[in-house]
């Protein structure tokens, strides 16, 4: 089927099979590789994108179901030359090893801090428990979120 999707601020068309996920269409059909493919089942959060401002696992959304919604994937949210303070915090805290989970964690961190600018450690752990990291043991990711919160979160913040 032919899909028309609102992706990253523009209309994109893709030929896709009926049962293909939004993640497959973003990556394989549209060549947008920033949101990652790790579990295919909504367990790891690596493919997190926003649809109409809500964070979803793109691997769990049928591409057809995203028609009519406003899709923003990782490149749109956090790509570009300058780093958002959340990204800077992940770099500085040592929260990135292999980095495959990192885009998902950054989207989840932004979503948390937008709703709850001063989360407790327990709230951070709860909010990020839908994301899996296999490298870091999460200690430095927790620290990256704490650092981001301490600086005060804003969607538009790109001071670098």
């Amino acid at each position: 089927m032919r899909l028309k999707l609102q992706v990253n601020g523009g209309e994109r068309e893709a030929e896709a099979r009926d049962h293909e996920s939004l993640l497959t269409v973003l990556r394989e059909r549209l060549g947008l590789w920033g949101s990652k493919n790790a579990c295919d089942q909504g367990e790891c959060g690596s493919c997190s994108v926003l649809i109409d401002g809500r964070r979803v696992c793109a691997c769990l959304v049928l591409a057809g179901a995203a028609v009519g919604g406003v899709v923003r994937n990782f490149e749109d949210l956090f790509g570009g030359e300058q780093m958002h303070p959340v990204q800077r915090a992940f770099v500085d805290a040592g929260a990135v090893q292999c980095g495959f989970c990192t885009p998902g964690f950054i989207v989840a961190t932004a979503a948390l801090l937008r709703d709850n600018p001063e989360p407790s450690d327990a709230e951070i752990r709860e909010a990020l428990s839908g994301n899996i990291c296999r490298c870091t043991g999460y200690g430095k990711i927790l620290e990256a979120v704490q650092r981001s919160a301490a600086k005060g979160y804003s969607d538009d913040d790109r001071p670098d």
Binding site: E28, G31, W33, C39, Q41, C98, G137, K140
Partner: protein, 765 residues
Amino acid sequence: MTIVPTKRRLRGVVGESAPRADAPPKVKGEFQYASDLSREGMLHGATLRSPHAHARIVRIEVEPARSMPGVRAVITSDDLPTQEKFGLMRADQPVLATRVVRYVGEPVALVAADDPEQARLATKAIRVEYELLPAVTDVVAALQPDAPKLHDPKDGNVIEDVRVVHGDPDATAEVVVEGEYEVAMQDQAALGPEAGLAIPGQDGGVTLHVATQWLHEDLRQIAPCLGLPEEKVRLVLAGVGGAFGAREDVTLQIHVCLLALATKRAVRMTYGREESFYGHVHRHPARMWYRHGATRDGRLVSVRATIVLDGGAYASSTFAVVANAACFGAGPYRVPNALIHAVGAYTNNPPTGAMRGFGAVQSCFAYETQMDKLAAALGIDPVELRARNALENGDRIITDQPVEGSAPVADVIRRCAALPMPPNRTSADPLGLPGGAGNLTHGEGVRRGIGFAVGMKNVCYSHAFDDFSTARVRVERDREGVVARVHTAASEVGQGIVLVCEQIARTELGIQRVIVETPDTTIGSAGSSSASRQTWMTGGAVLAACREVNAELAERARARGRLVDEVDLAELLDTPAERIVTHRHRPTEKRNDTTQNDGHVAFLFAAHRAVVDVDVDTGLVKVVQIATAQDVGKAINPLAVIGQLEGGIAQGLGLAVMEEVQLKDGAVRNASFTDYLLPTMLDMPPVVCDLIEFPHPDAPYGAKGVGEPPTISSTPAIVAAIRAATGRALERVPVRPDDIVFGTSSRSGWSVVAGEDPRSAHHSR
């Protein structure tokens, strides 16, 4: 003119917690992982796998797949260019199953098609007729004379058989403790799926971009299976989304190259998560029988053990895993008498091979449980018992090799035990209790326990393996000034070898701008990113190459009648200064019949203390804190070292309480992250670290490598804490809720006398 030593002005030298150069592209989503690779007009590969654990292939009918629209190639064993097999240490695995399949998931046929879904559907259209053969999925049964033989019948199913005999193994002791232990199959579960992009060349060769731990070893296995000379196969490291041992073996490398060569088109192959569980080797499951003897005042007299490791259908690295399980089978203790008999066997389970800790994990769970049993039998504090028997420098391990260049194990133990404890639980908020948001308790059945364990492992390759790494360091002038370029084939898999290379080069050369280039096979091998060895080996190669470049620069300065520190480096670089150095560690000795030799380069030690809360009503566990002390030699980048410690502990926690590849008749029953449970941020507690820097004289800056010890003794420490909280025996990992609530036993039913040959085992049922 005042000379300021250049190094003082540098940012990111050895010993500093510098940020990683690959972190900015990773946080921006720009870093290209293997599964992100694409090329205009590329095809997509897919694999048909065996649904049976052991069967004869009667017939394969490929026409229905070949005639589907968009299908460009279908390949079975009949279409292979050669009958060469592959394998890390023994070439025993066919590229595609030929006449027989030996495990559920074994590749049988390949398809290349215009899009990934078309390729997948085409594999489903291939009809394979099988005739079932008897399967053996119990590893001890596989060793018995009546078991079906999976490979060459004259060897039975034994892949490797190692006996360590030390002192008088029959020595009698005043106090004896025994046990049978089991370690289940663990998955490395790297987040990045297996993926590669193969591009056929004009010369009839192929270029493969792939996520791997060892480019040159892949090349050695791939080229003969393609029927090509090695110079026609070029490998380039694609972005690696974690490895942990799972990328040490060949998975899709040969397959994707075959499809590219057959279609003369670029082909990409990416496994989904389910296929990843079938596609790569796992940690060897183990059955272990132990007997420890000690004096009444708590001195170890003897350790006897029989260790049986399930190698699955193909050998992979089973030889070395068995050797490690045996050599470290008594732990980091002074043991005057020992007999460890370790065997690895073929079964019709999925193949097993490298995973972080590599054989040392399995035996550590058993010997540390034994040490706790001994402490209880003797009435001695478990930490004190360990410290009393701890190896000191100069002491010999059970293979008769002296320990040199390591922090005294007693210090590692005592410094771990001295780390601050977590606060007592004050709140009955269910979120902080076992079961968490499941809201299963208000604390009425929750008991706290503390456990302790210490472990050891070798660093680098052992037993006379020619272990080396190659580095090219080039100092040159470009538009931005002086730059140092470091090129090696060492795989960055997340562990941070890019940092090690960069920080060593910056420190040695005194040049701020250091670029670590993409690893490929245009330079000599770096060996694998495994065995905690890249800091020592590739770090060592970079260090040596930098010193040769420095000597060259000093010579250039001298030719101008100057000292190198007095001149602007750029003036000396009309031509680049470049050196390629191959670095080797000191030779090690081959194993002999009783494995009494200097088989290892050096040893790594770590201790872990776990504090847990256990709900004895539901059998759920919440790990409250892990404390660890580790002898790291020297932390090149302390932040990265702590990252390795914490990450390794998370994998040890997983094995302790949740991670198990569940098998039924050889089939994986939980090939997904929904059913194979991994620790999340809610499961992982705060970690308190003490990095002990006791430099090893042969290692670069004394840095010994740090990746594996965190995964070795964290598991037994957590289980010891659960035992302390519940009083249950818990002789198997992962510990399941049933084991806690009902005290379920996991005995195999095989009676084996510790230390004796498992081929003489009897089944009691």
